[in-house]
Symmetry: C3
Amino acid sequence: MKMYQQSITLPKARRGFHLITSAILHGAPGIRDFRKGLCQVFIQHTSASLSINENADPTVRADFETWFNKAVPENDPDYRHDLEGPDDMPAHIKASLLGSSVLIPIVDGRLGLGTWQGIYLCEHRDHGEARNVLVTCWGE
Amino acid sequence: MKMYQQSITLPKARRGFHLITSAILHGAPGIRDFRKGLCQVFIQHTSASLSINENADPTVRADFETWFNKAVPENDPDYRHDLEGPDDMPAHIKASLLGSSVLIPIVDGRLGLGTWQGIYLCEHRDHGEARNVLVTCWGE
Amino acid sequence: MKMYQQSITLPKARRGFHLITSAILHGAPGIRDFRKGLCQVFIQHTSASLSINENADPTVRADFETWFNKAVPENDPDYRHDLEGPDDMPAHIKASLLGSSVLIPIVDGRLGLGTWQGIYLCEHRDHGEARNVLVTCWGE
């Protein structure tokens, strides 16, 4: 068994849900050197997150943004952490609901995703920065 | 260290939360060949998900369905992705809230779950298909 | 590649969100023996969970408690699992929303967390017990 680690900087993205499967595969070409293994993508931030979901219809990603904005409202008067703007505390909560990493099996040198699965960058800030992700793979 | 990978097809399940710990152990008997390691179960779909929760009282699983149906309502007029029926977009959101995989330590040839923990298949579609999961284990 | 596994008992915590990064590093000193690898922390309970989020401002953790209590209300008359008190069923749901484990890359003998990331113990019961976590690391 061997291990591979690659840091990738994803360019600034607008608030919302974005497909990054190709960006990960291009930024971490070592993924294809594993016949059988695992690939973790980990985001080193607390107001953006990663998820796996539908990779074809952009309205799915738009509806994710709609639902999360209703479920985690801005400007709740009960929030105490509000110095960085109304989108800040909701961004932290959304990030924990979705999680800071995805873990995907590698099968025959490819990510073992289902036909309709892609990796999402979930940018929860109005003006998020470039986001660092660490890709770590291990296996045979 | 060694690695083991096994694909399992879970039969069609009705909408709701289902215990699949035994199905995983039977479908991936190689789990018990690891003294110390990790076991990932990954679901290759975007409208069903996996989670770990209470394994004894079926009313817990029923209450999960109740809560998720209230929290992620069908027929929100703001959804744009609705061609496949009212349960489709909510299914995608529920799937990302719960996640597409669980990762469980292996201790002495057994899943290192707590006494009350079991693996749930979370089927979010009214008429879901059979679901493919990939089990990947690594360790000593 | 090598593997390391360590069980840690976290002392009883009050209901809420608690930073445990230091407790994990002290309880599992073997983490620092990996130059490149992964570290999983897994909680063996169904009414407490783990997450990664902001490690500096305690009001963030307070606001997490506020949001989760509104999003997953107690005493919903539709809950059927209520024998262990009004905080029991919501605790199970919160635990699955956040997840039973976190998985963090190891880079040069340290957890590869971003500057503002810390590990949270999310205690969802009013009177939770001491909580067992299993730390498993693998890599070079």
